[in-house]
């Protein structure tokens, strides 16, 4: 079957991020002390388990980021036409789950549909029965009959992207502004402090919601910018990451500023200055390596908070596109169904469960990283 690869903007960014990760791993291999520190992370059982869970989620997310358009069935003599629907490798792997759609809700591992229907039997008798399901669903199906397990797995990519891309966008701001404020001091420090006090003073959720609202209006006003629904949802996801990144750099910047303030008075920095090393050289060679642990710790610590924030923002109406599979959207769509009798709990349980495992793993991993990298931790 011939396919046409599709490169969404977030796929490109995720690829860049993965390459950066590989480059960092190579860098770690070349630096024995750093390698020893990371060994300490993986030596603890918790760190290892958490790392494995994160790697599993990452694998699913990466598979879900290889997008393509399948070819439509050839119609004699015509050139190959491609479907409008954008699929991913994960969709191909999960084809039975994706296409096994029921009419409406069904409980996990159920054999019959949730809702009863009026059926006329062969004998002419009219009864209300729950019709049997066409397929078997481990975690049941949602309102429109989609497999909940499939939706949960599709949501992994959204969660990971928000957790990682936001950091990618935030890091350059936090590092350059934080270090510049601390290292140069004076006017530069005043200007940067003013900038982050102003940003901090706006209530976080409000600023994010307001900015997302603006982006949403822009997207609605210009439907011609996007060639497919997937591209539109993707841009909205990226915009959300960008906005989260723009508002969340202040914490790390403050931390780095305080650290750079201390470092610039140390002897090795004075010595470098006496040798005539330029500002850029000093920051790169003497300051940056000494704040590396702070950056690593804050990146892993922020991740879990961002994954949780997505769900809340989606509820507020300032989250990802309603068409994007995400845990926030799953929760939002199912929370009113708890009032049904018998209750429809599996969609909520699946979304919370998948999110919980990812966030717990991220938190445990962050603790392991913090213990290994924090110089104050007793070894």
């Amino acid at each position: 079957m011939s396919v046409q690869p599709v490169l969404l903007a977030s796929d490109v960014l995720l690829a860049i991020l993965l390459m950066a990760l590989v480059a960092y791993l190579v860098h770690v291999r070349q630096q024995p002390p750093l390698q020893a520190t990371w060994r300490r992370v993986t030596r603890t059982a918790l760190g290892r388990v958490a790392g494995t869970v994160l790697a599993l989620y990452l694998t699913v997310g990466v598979l879900d980021s290889l997008h393509y358009r399948p070819a439509l069935p050839a119609q004699g003599g015509q050139a190959v036409q491609y479907s409008n629907e954008v699929l991913s490798v994960l969709d191909a792997v999960l084809t039975p789950l994706r296409t096994g759609v029921e009419k409406t809700y069904s409980a996990p591992m159920a054999t019959h549909l949730y809702a009863k229907e009026t059926v006329t039997l062969a004998s002419g008798e009219v009864v209300r029965v729950a019709p049997p399901l066409k397929h078997w669903h481990l975690l049941g199906t949602d309102k429109v009959g989609q497999d909940v397990l499939y939706l949960s797995l599709k949501s992994i990519r959204t969660g990971l992207l928000i957790g990682t891309l936001t950091t990618l966008i935030m890091l350059p701001f936090a590092v350059t502004l934080g270090l510049a404020a601390g290292y140069f001091g004076g006017r530069v420090d005043d200007a940067i402090q003013y900038l982050y006090t102003t940003l901090n003073s706006i209530p976080g959720v409000l600023l994010i919601a307001a900015a997302v609202l603006v982006v949403q209006v822009q997207i609605e006003m210009h439907p011609d910018w996007f060639d497919s629904a997937a591209a539109r949802a993707d841009v909205r996801l990226l915009a959300l990451c960008a906005i989260l990144g723009m508002t969340s750099w202040t914490g790390l910047a403050r931390l780095l500023r305080a650290e750079a303030l201390k470092l610039r008075e140390l002897e090795f920095v004075h010595a470098a200055r006496a040798f005539g090393v330029g500002h850029a050289g000093i920051v790169r060679r003497h300051i940056l390596p000494n704040v590396g642990h702070l950056i690593v710790i804050s990146v892993v610590l922020d991740f879990s908070g961002l994954v949780l924030a997505e769900a809340v923002l989606s509820y507020v109406g300032a989250g990802v596109d309603p068409a994007t599979a995400s845990w926030g959207n799953m929760i939002n769509g199912a929370r009113l169904e708890l009032a049904r009798e018998p209750i429809v709990w599996w969609q909520l349980a699946a979304a919370f469960g998948f999110m919980f495992v990812l966030v717990l793993a991220a938190n445990l991993f962050a603790d392991a990283v913090k213990d290994a990298f924090d110089p104050r931790t007793a070894r």
Partner: protein, 325 residues
């Protein structure tokens, strides 16, 4: 001290101006009033006259920064920036898109917000501090290990889970409290139980861990060793020595959010149907009513700066070394 306060208040002006510029840029330059009108009027094919009428009705029919058609000083005052953004400094919030006065809405809606946010905040603070103190008191024991594991698990659960779970278990299954709603006056307490409980529980993981880390930081200090060497009991060391010394970092995080309690919590209020400022804001976001969002952003920033000043003042209360000049 007075001089310090005046300086801090003057320092607030450029920050609020910056906030104003950011919101103005977001709501008027990126999103022009034309876009706003089109969204509000709804239909895809709106006529230019309809847009113009909407802009006149809502006072959006003016240039952004400079009005060339006006006379004298009105060239600067008859603009959107002055009328919609700078007027916020005089606490003139204008009207919402439905024509109601935003200021009056804020006055009536801040009480339910406070009724939910204040107990949540203070009960929460007491619970988190007690949890952290207990974990530190019983450190290097099974109890501590279990407690720390619990906290990590609790902080890994989405806040939405606590809301939905609380409503379902306490409200629907056990009928302990109404699922949502609000009543004015003293009758309100019935409706407050659930949101306050959920608010406190959802913060316990993160805050408990945070305060525990603060106390553990103090416990390795020299004065703690001295206190123990004097023969003081562990409880006295903890409550009379460590707690007062940890007060500064605790106050840093606590006092700054106090003034913002007025604004309420977006999520809690809208889930529990509390008619406070949080749900007001959420409704405005969902209805794309920019006037309300702008007013709330400004108010939030103002209260944050008040919080920063209060934080500095509170330092003088707990730490005799701090003097404000």
């Amino acid at each position: 001290m007075i001089a310090y306060l005046i300086r801090r208040l003057l320092y607030a002006v450029p920050i609020l101006l910056g906030v104003n510029l950011i919101t103005f840029a977001l709501f008027f330059m990126v999103n022009t009033p034309d876009d706003m009108a089109r969204i509000q009027l709804g239909a895809k094919h709106v006529t230019a006259e309809a847009i113009a009428r909407w802009k006149v009705q809502h006072g959006y029919d003016k240039p952004l920064f400079y009005n060339a058609q006006a006379e004298g000083g009105e060239r600067l005052t008859q603009t959107l920036f002055t009328q919609k953004s700078l007027s916020l400094f005089a606490l003139e919030f204008g009207q919402a898109d439905d024509g109601r006065s935003i200021a009056r809405e804020i006055q009536t809606r801040m009480w339910p917000s406070l009724a939910v946010a204040m107990p949540t905040f203070f009960i929460g603070l007491a619970v988190y501090l007690a949890t952290a103190l207990m974990l530190v008191f019983f450190r290097r024991s099974r109890l501590e290990l279990a407690g720390v594991v619990m906290l990590v698990v609790l902080m890994s659960i989405s806040g939405l889970f606590y809301v939905i779970g609380g409503q379902f278990v306490l409200g629907k299954l056990w009928h302990w409290a109404p699922i949502s709603g609000y009543a004015p006056g003293l009758e309100a307490w019935k409706f407050l139980v659930l949101p306050v409980l959920v608010g406190v529980v959802s913060g316990i993981g993160e805050s408990g861990r945070f305060y525990r880390a603060l106390f553990l930081e103090e416990i390795h200090q020299d004065y703690v060793r001295t206190a123990r060497a004097k023969g003081l009991s562990e409880a006295r060391v903890l409550f009379n020595h460590i707690l007062p010394n940890a007060a500064i970092p605790i106050l840093t995080g606590v006092v700054v959010v106090l003034p913002r309690l007025f604004l309420g919590s977006l999520v809690i209020e809208s889930f529990f149907g509390v008619p406070g400022l949080g749900s007001y804001t959420i409704d405005a976001i969902q209805a794309q009513d920019f006037g309300i969002v702008r007013a709330m952003v400004f108010l939030g920033s103002l209260l944050y700066i008040v919080g920063l000043v209060l934080t500095d003042l509170s330092y003088t209360l707990v730490d005799p070394r701090v003097r404000l000049q």
